[in-house]
Amino acid sequence: MTGSADLPLLSDPPSYGTGRPPFQCEFPIAIANPADTNRLSLTGVTRVRRIKRMRSKVIWSSLVSLACGLSVSPMGSAFPGLELPGAPASEDPAVYVIRAEKLIERPGVVHENTSVLISDGRILEIGPDIALPDGATELKGAVVCASFIDPWSALGVDNGVLADTKMAESARTADGLNLFDVDHLFQEALRAGVTSARVQGGWQGKVCGLGAFVRLDPTLNDPKHAVLLPDADLAMSVGHSVNRGATFQRMGDGTFQMISGDRPTDVFDRVSEIEAVVSSVEAGEAYRRAEVEYKFKLKEWQEAIAEKQEELEDDFKKAKKDRDKKVKKAKEDGKEHKESKYKEDKKPREPKFNEDKAALARVAEGEIPLVVEVHRSSAIRNLLAGTERFSRLRLVIAGGSEALSCAEDLAERGIPVIVWPSLRGTTKKDEFTGATLSLAGELAAAGVPVLLGSGGRDADTTRDLPLLAQLAVGHGLEKEQALEALTIGAARAFDVADRVGSVELGKDADLLILDGMPLEPFTKIQYVFCGGRPAVTPEDN
């Protein structure tokens, strides 16, 4: 596909400005007939035949990318030769029609008695009465909704990467995925209805590197399929001391690495850590500015030099004549000919390439969100104050144990907080001291966009995210807000809302078939569709 064949390097310098802005990649097929509001369809009559044709992966993916104008994001070229990051594996061309009594397109948008047609991993049709194509499987369910997303997870991340305290800004969690020994964890998370996650390594460092958005399909132990978005965010952390109260943890390669535990740093450390975050963003902004300036100056220079060249060429005959004359004269004088001095046409200097700063530049420009794990209210306040002037920065707070004190500010700036409704005791004095289970509810009530995550420490905890969400509901979060946080909210925050997070035409078929409303205590998940295939069926439970 574009860019990959002739650009096999792992990291090309990002081509700024042409990168895919968030949400722009709309699926090519929109509502066919505005009058036919009930039916979202490809076109009426030739539907089935067309689906059959669509089974060819080549046609399908090229169609998608052509229509999207989607070029592989240069930073995404860690997975070269890849047409579409995270493309669902289409070895299984099965077609499914799911007939739902209730289809929750997204929280608050519910359709009664609606069917969903899935083929090649995508939702191809949504409508009240879809005919069953030949060879398609028909499933029925009381409720169909989008499957859950864990926006703060450690699932599939190599332990060494999780514990790495020296992640650079340009270090990618996607490079540190270990997808070979986690099938059971994936399966457990899938059984709980979680099909994708934003995973992040390096939580113990001040800089945690680039996070990835992955799909939890246990059959895909290939990053090509598992990674939906290789660079979902850049993460940083404030307040976790790296060196105090250290313990040793076994790394993936058998060595031991010192890790910190959740010991808090002191107030002054936190102040300087916030300053570091802010100046990082600043550096990224400056880097981008320098780059743009260079491009501009270079262009200017190139134009000037072209003009000059033309001029010189035009004047060449005269110059040659002059020189010949001078040479002759010098010879006559018995002197050596001195060439006339050419005033150097100085080329502007290219700024020194720095991949870390390039990553920070993407953050400063809002191309990817900046996730900062921060808990103390003073630190959050300082962070908010420090980042206020970066108008394009998309800040996301992770943890935010004491974020309530800044709720107004957060709400006003629309900064999402990923709340981790963890069950912590009171005996440990750590950064989480200020957290309560009612945090999510209270923040949401104050108008802060709330997401729910499983904390990004242990791969095991993603499985319990739906229960943690229920716990948050038990402590004041509205059910609809919780569902939004687990689905479209999380997708939106990490720029994958065009792919997952709701049941809509053209999106990936990541969805749940339930016997009751989602997040209700005794609702059972019957099917979990992940990348268009049933990863969990009633037999699995």
């Binding site: 190599d158 540190g176 964890l185 390594g201 060595t255």
Partner: protein, 501 residues
């Protein structure tokens, strides 16, 4: 009492001086001939056709000139007859991190270094290898690197690296497994940046050159003269990987000597031995090799857990060198059951070419590893290939070593019986036509076998290890392979224990 004195003082087996004197005696006391020798053995296993009963091997100038039954040889040749023994090709150690002063360099990218500067010809490692019938060794930097130094293929004979050399510059070590202080993410980043930097550097050099030419052109125009012709020229960039156009503008000698070996890798001129400690590392290694065009020059050096990526390896048709730990043990994360996988069998079944590595020097050398493979159901041919012919192929020496055939190096090991039997011993070794080892004069071997103290060794020189306890801390008697950061994982069962609780 005689015993008492010995008993109290001589507690450790290998005293430095002891082995040194002993083996030097065993090897170098042997007069070096001119590489001409004729060996007759009760059976000759050539690995290049059927075994020959009562066969003869003729070696001239270090090379085999004839192998067969009842063949003619020069009348003046030195003839060694071993009617009750088995002649076998010298074993090929496809990869080792031993025999060096130290196995790892602490800088990330050290492609400009060469292990020959680190090889210690008098290291016991080489003596022990010879004693076990290993006649060819590919010495490579260990796995704690991003890009390591250049390797060397040597024979375990000679007092200088030059004498030992079989093939200089056998390939560069790289690692997808994290170097200490790095995680998989930062290791991958470093790998990517290494080649990214190279490309940026080359483009920069070309651009600079071009800017210079442009400037010169303008200057000439301004001065009213013809521009100078470019005199020195380089080659365009070769290989299957990415290209920097107009590289021919740059004479190769102008390229930074630290970058040149990397360019060699991308141009496919240098073999790469890529260390992987997990199946995920295999993905990283393949991706890196593919992106930079050296996939067809890559050999993966795997730790035992990497068998899970066998399909991926097969798909890309890459040869592999397996870890010395042949059985991979893991616990089922759900049931807690212990699962054992015999790794060579997996690769054999998938049809991936593989070589084995020794697990220790004298005790668990290549014959031992091959024997274990047979015990796990592989055929003798398959097992022996992994320590001879395939190993030679993988290290690029298939025309020189690995089997007894005319034209190949005259490396012959005389076994007292079946090479894979625990009852057989390496009795004689001939390397490049020189008779370099004779078990009957190997005093160190006698010491290991019977505890006999060789003469001229003093008890004071022995080093004891007081207060060392067997259980449960102690690891098996493996070579101190610093390079093998992946190996610990395989052995560590206590680690699994921890997970359980």
């Amino acid at each position: 009492m005689k015993n008492q004195k010995l008993g109290t003082l001589a507690r450790t087996a290998v005293a430095t001086c002891l082995a040194a004197t002993a083996l030097t005696a065993a090897t170098n006391a042997m007069p070096f001939s001119d590489g001409n020798i004729v060996i007759k053995a009760g059976q000759v296993i050539t690995l290049d056709g059927e075994p020959i009963e009562n066969g003869t091997i003729v070696i001239e100038n270090g090379r085999i000139t004839a192998v067969g039954k009842d063949i003619k040889y020069p009348w003046n040749a030195e003839v060694k007859e071993y009617p009750n023994s088995v002649a076998f090709p010298g074993f090929v150690e496809a990869l080792t991190n031993s025999g060096m002063d130290r196995a790892n360099e602490n800088i990330d990218v050290a492609a400009f270094l060469n292990v020959k500067d680190s090889i210690d010809p008098v290291s016991f490692y080489f003596e022990d290898s010879l004693r076990s019938g290993v006649t060819t060794l590919n010495v490579q930097q260990g796995g704690s690197c991003v890009v390591g130094g250049m390797g060397y293929i040597v024979k375990p004979v000679g007092m200088t690296v030059e004498e030992m050399t079989v093939q200089p510059n056998s390939g560069i070590a790289m690692s997808a497994a994290p170097k200490s202080g790095k995680s998989r993410a930062t290791q991958t980043l470093a790998l990517r940046q290494t080649f990214d930097d190279l490309r940026r550097y080359l483009e920069g050099v070309v651009q600079e050159k071009r800017d210079g030419v442009d400037l010169a052109t303008r200057e000439a125009l301004y001065q009213g003269r013809e521009a100078d012709e470019e005199t020195s020229k380089g080659r365009p960039m070769g290989g299957n990987g990415w290209k920097v156009s107009n590289l021919e503008m740059i004479p190769r000698w102008e390229i930074d000597e630290k970058k040149a070996p990397l360019l060699g890798i991308v141009e496919g001129k240098t073999a790469v031995f890529f260390y992987c400690s997990t199946p995920g590392d295999v993905q990283t290694a393949i991706r890196t090799a593919k992106d930079n065009g050296f996939l067809n020059r890559t050999v993966l050096c795997l730790s035992s857990g990497c068998w899970k990526a066998a399909d991926l390896i097969k798909q890309h048709n890459i040869p592999v060198i397996l870890s010395s730990v042949l059985t991979h043990v893991e616990r089922d994360p759900v049931t807690g059951e212990e699962k054992e996988t015999f790794v060579p069998a997996v690769f054999q079944d998938k049809g991936v070419r593989f070589a084995l590595r020794s697990a220790g020097t004298s005790g668990k050398s290549l014959w031992y590893q091959a024997a274990l493979c047979v015990g796990h159901g592989m055929t003798r041919e398959q097992a022996l290939a992994a320590v001879t012919t395939t190993a030679a192929e993988i290290t690029g020496l298939s025309n020189r070593v690995g089997s007894l055939a005319p034209g190949k190096d005259g490396n012959v090991v005389i076994f007292s019986g079946d090479p894979l039997s625990v009852m057989s011993n390496v009795e004689q070794v001939v390397v490049e036509g020189n008779h370099v080892y004779d078990r009957s004069t190997d005093v160190r071997m006698r010491h290991l076998e019977t505890g006999a103290q060789p003469e001229n060794t003093s008890a004071e020189m022995e080093t004891g290890t007081p207060h060392k306890h067997d259980e449960p801390e102690e690891k098996d008697d493996k070579e101190p392979d610093e390079g093998e950061n992946e190996e610990e994982k395989d052995d560590d069962h206590e680690g699994h224990e921890d997970e359980e609780n």
